[in-house]
Structures are given as structure tokens and as C-alpha cells.
């Protein structure tokens, strides 16, 4: 594969939105990849699905609302978003009321999805 060809990247987001800078860093990676015209899709698994909760407001904890950043991603043509169905059910979340429109995947579907990408980046 030549360097000029697009490589498909799957970001595997599995951290809580606040408490560490990892979730924020993941969004920065997504934005940077999109700006440089790389094809990047998102998969939220485990704790990562909690980033998708609507109505986040970090002002009183002195933090930017990660949710606002996340909901801006479709503007950058990042619109393939997948989520771990088991985690969503475990946290009793409503998949129809999330910051981004997500496709729910089973464990086997998650693995099959990963096989479609050149690079997997967990963060």
C-alpha cells in the first residue's frame, strides 16, 4: 500500500470522559486525523460509552464539556460511530438518546468491525 493511499483508522474509546485526559486526547486525535483527511471511525466500548451521555456540563468542575466536543465530530465528516451494546445495557443507557448517532454492536460484531481497519488505536 502506498503512503498516499488512505489508511482506515478505528479509534477504540474506552475511558471515562472526566478524571483523566485520555478521553479528551482521543477526540483531539479524531479531529487531527479528520483535518489531515484520514478516514477515522469511532468505537466506544466499556466505560467509554459513558462519554456519549447527553446533557454533559463540565463548567462547575472546571472542565470543558467533552460532550460538546464529541457532538461536533460529524461536522468533520466523522460519522461512523459504533458502540458496545453490552456496556450500554450494563449501564442502562438509552441508545436512542446519545450525543452521537451510534450503531450498537455485539462482541463478535466489534471484532469483525476491527478487522476492517488498517490501524486500531485504543484510547
Amino acid at each position: 500500500m502506498s503512503a498516499k493511499q488512505k489508511r482506515k483508522i478505528l479509534l477504540v474509546l474506552r475511558f471515562l470522559p472526566y478524571g483523566s485526559s485520555i478521553a479528551k486526547a482521543a477526540i483531539d486525535v479524531a479531529l487531527a486525523s479528520a483535518v489531515f483527511d484520514q478516514e477515522v471511525d469511532l468505537l466506544f466500548i466499556g466505560d467509554g460509552v459513558l462519554q456519549l451521555l447527553p446533557d454533559q456540563d463540565g463548567r462547575e468542575v472546571g472542565s470543558k464539556s467533552l460532550g460538546r466536543l464529541l457532538s461536533s465530530l460529524p461536522l468533520y465528516d466523522i460519522d461512523h460511530v459504533y458502540a458496545d451494546a453490552e456496556a450500554i445495557s450494563r449501564f442502562n443507557l438509552d441508545p436512542t438518546n446519545m450525543l452521537l448517532e451510534v450503531r450498537m454492536l455485539s462482541e463478535l460484531q466489534i471484532h469483525n468491525l476491527m478487522l476492517q481497519y488498517d490501524h486500531l488505536l485504543g484510547l
Binding site: 477504540v12 474506552r14 462482541e107 471484532h111 478487522l115 486500531l120
Partner: protein
């Protein structure tokens, strides 16, 4: 070269990283235990049971196992850095769990 996934686990069996890794891996994948991931091969633990019998080849960084004082059980391959490089050549995609 296989199209399957090489999982690099560097987190304790109590971590969400371990839980997520075990959830995602499928037969044909391989895993390398390193750092805190070493403790996932403690025999008789739930963690070890979750890794075995899945059709996933289990490898461990020998130096890390030695440092942790954890015996490498049968069925687990101990590898050095050269072995790790070889594995990365065999798998077209890798995923780090930390």
C-alpha cells in the same frame, strides 16, 4: 501474516482494560501479557480462565513474568523482545490495552 488481532495487555486483571480486552478477543487472535497484564496468567484465577480455551494464543514477556515472580503456566508461551517483534510481524493489526 494473519488478518487477526494481536492484543497487547498491560493492565491488571481487575482493570476495565482487561475486561474490555477479554470481551473483544476472538479465536485466531493472540495476546501478549506484559507489565500488569502478567497477573492474568495466575493459575486458578477467573482471569486466567477467561483467557484460556478461547482459541487465543497466549504469550508473555518472560522478563516481566520473572520480575513479578509469576510462574508461566503450561499453554502459555514465554517470549523475549525478539519474539515480540516476530509476533508483530505476523499480525497485520495490533491493539494496546493499558
Amino acid at each position: 501474516m494473519t488478518a487477526m488481532i494481536l492484543h497487547m495487555l498491560n493492565a491488571s486483571p481487575s482493570s476495565t482494560a482487561f475486561r474490555d480486552c477479554v470481551k473483544v478477543m476472538q479465536a485466531g487472535d493472540a495476546i501478549v501479557l506484559m507489565g500488569g497484564g502478567i497477573y492474568a496468567m495466575l493459575e486458578g484465577t477467573e482471569a486466567f480462565a477467561a483467557l484460556t480455551g478461547r482459541g487465543v494464543k497466549i504469550n508473555v514477556l518472560a522478563a516481566d513474568a520473572k520480575a513479578a515472580g509469576v510462574v508461566v503456566p503450561p499453554g502459555v508461551e514465554d517470549i523475549d523482545m525478539d519474539g515480540l517483534v516476530l509476533l508483530t510481524e505476523q499480525f497485520s493489526r495490533q491493539l494496546a490495552w493499558y
